[in-house]
């Protein structure tokens, strides 16, 4: 079989467990975590690829891949079910000599060199499967080509006090990266790496093979590949991204990013027709909004039934909010049920879970000491029994 040459192949790292999302990723990979009423995290890099004209995508899965693989299917919802290119789920596989799991980000890409080789791409775009942002990768690619760069790294301006949580790029006037600091105590700049890389294919291949032969390496782009390339005088450039970007690594950030789509001028606009995010759709009928309901500043997705009150929240497909229930500042994941007279405040309720009548889940921050308060979480497939209370910060 022959493969046509591709200008750019995208590789999405989707193997992460997302252990800080706790109960929400107990039985599913982080990129399959629901978002925004009808989406999953993986929809963002996939839709960005499609909206940027990239039609060949490899997705590297490892941790609990069942739900994610099912969700991706043949790639039809994203228009990636093509004969020439399209979507490829790349799971670790056994080889004649040895078999191994993906050990680090660079190792995952290394183990799939033969996949990329088939398309003989000019450049390879490396993405994470668990970031929420809308980005036109085509612009980044053309900057990469213009700079004749070996590698281009997308960077985001972050507040100085937060810079020590990120990988920080120090650049010269032309945007060329002179130094890379991983989570520095005293950051020299505020350009944080977004974990989005474009590599020249030949350069990437060389460094991955060398990295694999180095027993000292932890096979990570940020820790090993990028510092080595800088040290050897390769042309690395920063690409400034302006816009909304969130790594939903924690319960707080997952909750916050859902709140960020609300409002008339939201931080993240899900309605912009030019940067549509595609998702696998299930055949749900319209949502039913009953006469006793009240909904303010909220998103409600198809297939849900609202009999109660919903304020400043995101209600996903197939949810039922029963009569007398109240939802404030919360994210309710698909097919969850909130029973009669139950109150949900500052909480995330997991997929297919039920809060029986008269439960209280979470609470407003103003009644608590800062350290004692947090988002309350109900996991996937859970039942919160009648009259029970899930306190703020509690994980059920």
């Amino acid at each position: 079989m022959t493969f046509r040459k591709k200008e750019c192949v995208a590789m999405i790292l989707a193997g992460g467990q997302g252990s800080r999302l706790m109960v929400l990723t107990e039985n599913t990979a982080k990129p399959a975590v629901p978002f925004g009423g009808k989406y999953r995290l993986i929809d963002f890099p996939l839709s960005n690829c499609v909206n940027s004209g990239i039609d060949t995508v490899g997705i590297m899965t490892q941790y609990q891949p069942l739900q994610l693989n099912e969700y991706i299917g043949n790639g039809q919802p994203w228009g990636l079910n093509s004969t020439n290119g399209g979507i490829h789920v790349l799971s670790p596989y056994s080889k004649s000599q040895n078999s191994e799991w993906y050990k680090g980000t660079a190792n995952a890409i290394y183990q799939n060199l033969s996949f990329m080789e088939r398309y003989n791409p000019t450049n390879v775009l490396i993405l994470s499967g668990d970031h929420i942002y809308k980005m036109n990768y085509a612009k980044m690619l053309s900057a990469h080509v213009r700079n004749n760069a070996d590698c281009t790294i997308a960077v985001l301006e972050v507040p100085l006090e937060e810079a020590s949580r990120f990988g920080i790029m120090n650049t010269d006037k032309s945007g060329r990266i002179t130094e890379f600091q991983e989570k520095p105590k005293e950051p020299k700049s505020t350009k944080a790496s977004m974990g989005i890389y474009v590599f020249k294919w030949e350069v990437l291949k060389k460094y991955l093979i060398e990295d694999n032969e180095d027993p000292e390496s932890s096979n990570d782009f940020g820790k090993n590949i990028i510092p080595k390339m800088i040290a050897e005088g390769r042309r690395l450039f920063a690409y400034d991204f302006v816009g909304y970007w969130k790594d939903v690594g924690t319960i707080e950030s997952l909750w916050q990013s859902n709140m960020d789509i609300l409002g008339d001028k939201p931080l993240l606009d899900m309605r912009d027709p030019d940067t549509k995010i595609y998702a696998r759709n299930y055949a749900h009928p319209c949502s039913y909004i009953s006469p006793k309901s009240e909904i303010v500043n909220s998103y409600v997705a198809e297939g849900s039934q609202i009999y109660g009150k919903v304020y400043d929240s995101v209600i996903s497909t197939g949810c039922i909010i029963e009569e007398g229930a109240e939802i404030h500042d919360s994210f309710i994941m698909p097919n969850a049920v909130v029973g009669k007279r139950s109150e949900v405040r500052y909480a995330i309720i997991g997929e297919d879970s039920t809060a029986e009548p008269n439960t209280r889940i979470g609470d407003d921050p103003e009644f608590y000491e800062k350290k004692a308060w947090g988002i309350a979480v109900v996991g996937k497939d859970k039942v919160v029994e009648q009259n029970s209370v899930i306190k703020p910060k509690e994980v059920f």
């Binding site: 925004g36 319209c286 909004i289 006469p291 409600v300």
Partner: protein, 371 residues
Amino acid sequence: MKAMGIVFSNIYDSSLGELTNIRTVASLPFGGRYRLIDFVLSNMSNSGIYNIGIITKYNYRSLMDHLGNLSDWDLNRKNEGLVFLPPFVSGNTGVYKGKLEALYSAIRFIDNPAYDYVVVCDTTVLSNIDFREAIKKHIETGCDVTILANREKADPRKKHPLILKADKSNEVTEILINAPAKEESYVGMGVFIFNRKALTEILEESNSKGLVHLERDYLQKKFNENAIELSVFPVDGIVLRNEDVRSYYANNMALLDEEIHNGLFNNDRPIYTKVRDEAPTYYGEGSAVSNSLVADGCRFYGKVDSSIVFRGVTVAKDASVRSCIVMQGTRIGRNAKLECVILDKNVTVSDGTVLMGTPVHPVIIGKGETV
């Protein structure tokens, strides 16, 4: 027992007035996110009928646009799938006037030895049924044609296209065409099950005799001559007939009744439609939505009550929408007051506009118009 399907996309266009000026009745929007044809296609797909011919006459561009590559109905198949059957004009055939003529023009599609049975359907009567059960009964009774029908109450003012009387074993004892139901009786749902081989013979014969209408020229005539045996397959579930603007409006509103809604939509046999990748609907400050069916992609800042709202509709501040059908992409301006209005796709209602219809005579605003 393999069956194929035939769908008539426009047979009753004329009775739906302005709504079908620019589209087939099959592509008429319904229930907030569907087109009428979605129900028949979903029933077929859910019943394992994957080889389907759609008979079209004119104005079928919107239908082709809606169906796209058919993957949303699970009908984009390698060996089977859906075929458009536009009028095949040659020699003495022309654009057909009745179902028999239409079927004859599709005879080469129908005469496929891989299939034993043919399910022939209209798109105007909505229900959620498993055709496999009906085909099973058709085989058991050994009759020539099985007609799907439901019980309708007596109403001397309302004429039905096909009224049937049947005995206890569901064998048809009388056929009436374009008649009112004087007592509670079976009313045909526009779904007929034929043996494939027999159907091709019927079509050859009716073509040579110049017959036009399936119900009058074949079913009723042959039945009265005692030449064929007919069976009724009784349907107990929800059945909604869209015969004219009035019933179309009433049927949309009927979906606000939980029992009717749940009778038409269930998780075991979903109704599929075109995926449009809209964001969920946003309920802004000042919105008050009640007793309504709402699709994705809308933005509400005003009042919506007892209405069916399709995808991508905007309702501005202080607007009031009551008992309306608002189709895809329509924008309703500030302080507009609408009651019993059917707003077709992409209508713009200017600020302060007042439109009042009644449930019997709803106001209709045509596609793309500005009022």
